[in-house]
């Protein structure tokens, strides 16, 4: 049995330029799947005008898992969406008509297909779920670029609540830096956990460190001048020593 996509596999399509994605898929897909993909992309690229009831490429999008294997489905679906030049109306329709897997693929496609904030409602929809596969995809590069500060902070907190590794949060260090409101929310959450006698997720301290106004040591290149960390709420938090022992990320 092959394993299901790891979180890393699941987030890569949002971070990889589509042409690279295509080349890498072509080298990994079985011959029949590669042929199917080529035809699906062709269908998507040539579909134009009115369709009854939906364009044919939407069926290709739905069946990508069984045609190419679940490990490759996210990348395949991103490529189909790009080939179809899916606009906001199409993205919104296939998201709402989609299975959780298809919705995840739409989220991965957003940074490649949508320039402005018009797809934020789709990200917000995914962030309202408790499905960690959707949450992980929702906090990708598009969210980093377009989410308001309030929504983004709640997204980060939700990751901590649902054990989505904060490594999934795109551009975390840049957006967290100097965010005193996020630091306050994290501190309150840590206090709440400690008061209940529960371990504080290790990821919480990582994000908290990143909220310092000066670049924190972890995510920055070595060329940055190392500065003495400022006085920070992390030092005052209770229960810092009781790390979550079972912070193994769910891999679905």
């Amino acid at each position: 049995m092959t394993s299901s996509p790891t979180p890393e596999d699941g987030t890569r399509p949002a971070h990889t330029p589509p042409d690279e994605l295509h080349a890498s898929l072509d080298s990994r897909l079985a011959p029949a799947a590669r042929t199917w993909l080529a035809e699906a992309l062709d269908t998507a690229a040539t579909c134009s005008g009115p369709h009854e009831p939906y364009p044919a490429w939407e069926v290709r999008l739905a069946e990508a898992g069984r045609r190419c294997g679940s490990a490759h489905a996210d990348a395949v679906r991103v490529l189909i969406l790009r080939a179809a030049r899916a606009d906001m109306a199409a993205l919104t329709r296939v998201y709402h008509h989609g299975t959780a897997d298809e919705r995840r693929a739409v989220l991965h496609a957003l940074p490649h297909l949508v320039a402005g904030p018009e797809a934020v409602p789709l990200v917000e929809d995914a962030l309202r779920t408790n499905d960690t596969r959707l949450l992980t995809a929702a906090v990708g590069p598009y969210a980093a670029r377009c989410l308001s500060a309030h929504t983004w902070r709640h997204a980060v907190l939700k990751c901590l609540f649902t054990a989505v590794p904060v490594d999934s949060v795109a551009d975390l260090a840049r957006r967290a830096r100097g965010d005193t409101e996020l630091a306050r929310m994290l501190g309150d959450y840590a206090t709440e956990r400690a008061a209940a006698g529960r371990p504080v997720p290790e990821d919480l301290y990582r994000v908290l460190a990143l909220t310092e106004p000066e670049p924190a040591s972890e995510p920055e290149p070595a060329s940055e001048p190392a500065s003495e960390p400022a006085r920070h709420p992390v030092a005052d938090l209770p229960g810092k020593e009781s790390r979550c022992a079972s912070s193994t990320p769910t891999s679905i």
């Binding site: 739905a62 489905a73 959780a100 054990a163 769910t250 679905i252």
Partner: protein, 282 residues
């Protein structure tokens, strides 16, 4: 003992059930769309339900290391409510989804003309989408219901080897077997079949094309009945291979006819502190 429950309504069950099922050997389930107990009044509530069977429920199942697929349909009971029937027009866009492994559960409830139409229409939808069909037999007037069901199946575009006739019992098993369809048995605490009678049927009719399910739902039912049948089979002289055939290979073969069965599931840590299912509304 590896178990595939080919008919169970997990939407109505708790995470305790998932945990107990995994401990009992259940590694795969198929959840047929059905009546929720409270009648629906519009297609929209079907669509939310279908979305849940393709989204949240497989996610919940995966948290417990169980592969989840579904069958979708307008159930026979609600086929009688004209407010619900338009969901038939929405079914085609759902029947192309990766995790849909059959059209179902369809069949008869009260054997009305509206049920005739819904059954025939959905058997055709199954044929159009290269899917098998899960057809249940009615609780009341079961033998007559079976005969009428088999007539409609014979007139359909779907060959019998792509049809699973469910909720069978002693009076209906012989005719169902002669039809060439797959044979489903639901083992319940006090209605339908029990495990002793199930094992007797297996002895009399053999394990070929037989599937055993718990059909567990919101009523009095037990999601571990599949395991009970397996245990009793072994206790009464059936081989491990017989039990594996009935409880795993037969359902894999039947739903595998869809070409969409994917039994790979990453076993996740169900007791994880941060588990989003355990965290409920978090």
């Amino acid at each position: 003992m590896r178990i595939f429950d080919p008919h169970i309504h997990m939407t109505s069950r708790t995470t305790d059930d998932y945990e107990a099922m995994h401990a009992a050997g259940v590694r795969a389930v198929v959840e047929p769309a059905f009546w929720l107990g409270q009648p629906r009044t519009s297609p929209a509530s079907f669509l939310d339900y279908f979305d849940s069977l393709l989204g949240w429920e497989p996610f919940r199942a995966a948290q417990y290391g169980i592969a989840h697929h579904c069958t979708l349909a307008l159930n026979p009971k609600e086929a009688n409510d004209p407010r619900c029937v338009p969901v038939l027009d929405e079914l085609p866009r759902y029947l192309v989804k990766d995790q849909v492994v059959a059209v179902g559960e369809i069949g008869y409830d009260s054997m009305t003309p509206a049920e005739d139409i819904a059954l025939a229409t959905q058997l055709q939808l199954a044929a159009d989408h290269a899917l098998p069909a899960l057809v249940h037999t009615p609780h009341r007037d079961k033998l007559a219901g079976l005969r009428r069901t088999l007539d409609v199946v014979r007139e359909s575009a779907l060959p019998p080897e792509r049809v699973l006739i469910d909720h069978l019992n002693e009076p209906t098993v012989k005719e169902a077997k002669t039809s060439g369809c797959w044979l489903g048995f639901s083992v319940y605490p006090d209605t339908k079949m029990d495990e002793k009678r199930m094992v007797a049927i297996l002895r009399a009719h053999g394990p070929e094309r037989v599937l055993v399910n718990s059909a567990a739902d919101w009523g009095r039912s037990d999601p571990l009945k599949t395991r009970r049948v397996g245990d009793l089979m072994l206790a009464e002289g059936f081989t491990e291979d017989d039990a594996d055939r009935v409880l795993w290979r037969n359902p894999v073969e039947f739903y595998g006819l869809s070409g969409r069965l994917n039994l790979d599931v990453t076993v996740t840590e169900a007791t994880h502190e941060g588990n989003s299912v355990l965290r409920g509304g978090g």
